[in-house]
């Protein structure tokens, strides 16, 4: 009755490439989502080149540059964070993640001030100042709000995801195996033991009698690379991929809106 049965997790949970492929496919959808807006931008800019130039003078190149540097640096820190997790250096991982999140917050704060200033001056969709502008200038600002707005939403989502990752990674590496009701029902009356590879009993865990509802077995690992929770590494890598995408979109938004003049 005591034939060893493998309790492998789904084989593909250790298939990093597959999980990564899924994430890249999602990134492609994001690229095309923003790509559609870049299409509109390029068309309208070609038709209203001069007005775009005029409108862009309203934007503060300095804040734009600061924001660009903030995101670029946050990409660096999240990349280091992931590498550190692979190497088992949890402290660096956590520190770098925190810096990434802080830089993201800095970006959003800057954005808040930028938008507030514009709105205060009546330059917003439906605002008095905006409606008094020429067609091209209106289009510039409408596109500005939609594109940086959608980008900002993605930054917020990214910050949320990274915060979750911070929580996951902060937990000590370990593994929990749960013997659920279905598994237990197959071994009721059996005695749970620890045996070595020769089948010799080392220790007694307990009798699975009718009153046992659930069994949890917890492993807590030392912080070495081989024991780093692989699924956490995959999750963090995918979160990093998302964050880098947010960075790349801004890399294009920056010159197209702030450097036109």
């Amino acid at each position: 009755m005591n034939k060893p049965v493998s309790l492998t997790a789904e084989a593909h949970h250790s298939d990093e490439t597959g999980a990564k492929l899924g994430m890249w496919l999602f990134l492609f959808t994001e690229l095309l989502l923003f790509g559609g807006m870049f299409l509109l931008y390029s068309i309208y800019r070609s038709e209203h080149a001069h007005e775009f130039f005029l409108a862009a003078t309203e934007l503060d190149t300095f804040i734009g540059t600061v924001n660009t540097l903030a995101l670029l640096t946050s990409s660096l820190t999240v990349a280091i964070s992931i590498e550190a997790l692979r190497r088992g250096s949890r402290k660096i991982t956590i520190a770098m993640l925190i810096i990434t999140i802080i830089l993201g917050i800095v970006f959003m704060i800057n954005k808040y001030f930028e938008w507030s200033a514009k709105i205060h001056h009546g330059i917003y969709p439906g605002g008095a100042k905006l409606l008094s502008m020429s067609d091209g200038e209106m289009l510039f600002f409408n596109l500005y709000y939609v594109m940086t707005g959608l980008h900002g939403i993605h930054v917020l989502v990214g910050l949320g995801v990274l915060s979750f990752m911070l929580y996951f990674v902060s937990k000590r590496p370990g593994k929990k195996i749960n013997l659920d009701y279905e598994t237990l029902s197959q071994i009721r009356g059996a005695n749970l033991e620890v045996v070595d590879e020769k089948g010799q009993k080392i220790d007694d865990i307990g009798l699975i009698d009718n009153d046992v509802e659930d069994v949890d077995i917890k492993f807590k690992y030392a912080q070495v690379p081989s024991k780093m929770d692989k699924s956490n590494i995959i999750k963090l890598e995918n979160s990093g991929l998302y964050w880098h995408l947010v960075d790349i979109i801004w890399i294009f938004l920056f010159p197209l809106f702030y450097l036109v003049s």
């Binding site: 299409l39 068309i43 590498e83 190497r87 990093g240 920056f254 010159p255």
Partner: protein
């Protein structure tokens, strides 16, 4: 029990990328950012957009290849990124066919 029928060698991801590489990439990105800001002050007329987009593209490629590991992934991933970029470019170009020739 591994159902993996992929013919590519399973990339063990043990290619540890040194922190140094990342920092170098970051420095390049900062330099390019400075470059694009500086160039914006120069009146290049029609060439301005091309230059700005080229620098942005270069920065993106750096982020893609190093930060996002594309350089170290199976070739399929790089191919797919190219496919997506080409698809987007095609949509834009065909639409311009309308706008420019009305």
């Amino acid at each position: 029990m591994n159902q993996n029928a992929s013919s590519s060698v399973e990339n063990q991801e043990n290619h540890s990328i040194g922190y140094g590489v990342y920092i170098l990439v970051w420095l390049s990105l900062v330099v390019f950012t400075g470059l694009t800001v500086a160039v914006a002050g120069v009146d290049l007329k029609a060439l301005a957009v091309t230059v700005a987009l080229s620098i942005a593209a270069t920065k993106s490629i750096l982020v893609l290849m190093y930060f996002m590991h594309l350089k170290y992934e199976p070739p399929l991933f790089r191919t797919l990124v190219v496919v997506v970029v080409v698809a987007l470019a095609t949509f834009i170009i065909l639409t311009f066919l309308d706008i420019l020739f009305r």
